[in-house]
């Protein structure tokens, strides 16, 4: 029976979709991490500028 091609396409699609979603999650996470880092730096600078806080 020559339906192994269909099987491959099916499985390929499943892992493509899942992989794509995981990849988008990872990208979003790294974007968030960058933002947090920047904010942290800004806050540090701020605290030095306003010592009484």
């Amino acid at each position: 029976m020559s339906n192994l091609g269909f099987l491959a396409v099916g499985y390929g699609f499943i892992w493509l979709v899942l992989g794509g979603y995981v990849f988008s999650l990872a990208r979003r996470q790294s974007g968030l991490n960058r933002q947090v880092d920047r904010l942290e730096r800004e806050l540090e600078l701020d605290r030095e500028a306003v010592p009484e806080r």
Partner: protein, 253 residues
């Protein structure tokens, strides 16, 4: 007084929220989340082994039947947990007015779209060599298609409204109505199709024990994956919200 409180809030809150990402409270990595991720990957590898190698080849359909395990697992997640969590968190949001529930609902709807898409695409791929047609208006298939439209509509609604309580309220209302609708859709399509002869009588019945075990493992593995992705996604949204709030408070200063 009040202004100072705002300021204090901003300063008291900014550093911890930044630290949390590192320290693991709520923001980023933590042991149980990592454990969940690792176990879901292991479970999926195991399920893959069972489905592709261990399980016997179906006598009539041949190897293509091996698609069945993950097809059904994805369908189960779309109809069950994904939409169930959307509906439950919608109700909880309207009741408690806590945006955390809204974030869980939206993450679950995203995953729902993904699993529904997997179901809808693997279904026809499986059907083509067996029935000779990509699509049949089978009740389960058609209900899944309607469900896909409802999930996508939910996400479209969210993308059309600015973040905040208004978006949470509107999407919660739609989520609840959609969830109540799905069983009625299923009933109606089943009646619609049973008046005419259906293409397939029952796909689940008469499953060999080995196949049944493989199916359960696949469902379990996908459920773990769903839980892991949901947690990760919700924590991302939590972090984004906190970031946003800190920025606003700093700006207000």
């Amino acid at each position: 007084m009040a202004e100072e409180q705002t300021l204090k809030r901003a300063f008291a809150e900014a550093p911890p929220s930044v630290i949390e990402r590192r320290g693991g409270r709520g923001g980023g990595r933590s042991l149980w989340v990592d454990a969940l991720g690792a176990s879901s990957i292991l479970a999926i590898l195991f399920a893959l082994y069972l489905a592709l190698i261990w399980a016997p080849t179906e006598a009539v359909m041949g190897d293509i039947q091996r698609l069945f395990y993950f097809h059904v697992a994805a369908a189960w997640l779309a109809l069950g947990p994904s939409f169930g969590v959307v509906a439950a968190c919608s109700v909880l949001y309207l009741w408690k007015k806590d945006l955390r529930f809204d974030r869980i609902a939206s993450a679950s709807a995203e995953l729902g779209v993904m699993f529904t898409t997997i179901t809808l695409v693997t279904g026809p791929i499986w059907a083509r060599p067996i029935w000779g047609a990509y699509w049949t208006w089978d009740p389960r298939l058609t209900t899944t298609l309607v469900l896909w439209f409802i999930f996508v509509a939910y996400l479209m609604l969210r993308s059309a409204v600015d973040a905040g309580h208004k978006r949470a309220r509107l999407s919660a209302v739609f989520g609840i109505v959609g969830w109540i609708d799905v069983p009625i859709v299923f009933m109606s399509i089943r009646w619609w199709r049973t008046i005419h002869p259906t293409v397939i009588a029952s796909e689940g019945g008469g499953l060999a024990p080995d196949m049944r075990l493989t199916l359960f493992v696949a469902i379990g593995a996908f459920t773990l994956l769903y839980a892991y992705l949901l947690v990760v996604r919700v924590r991302q949204e939590d972090l984004a919200t906190r970031l946003d709030r800190v920025r606003h408070q700093l700006y207000l200063r």
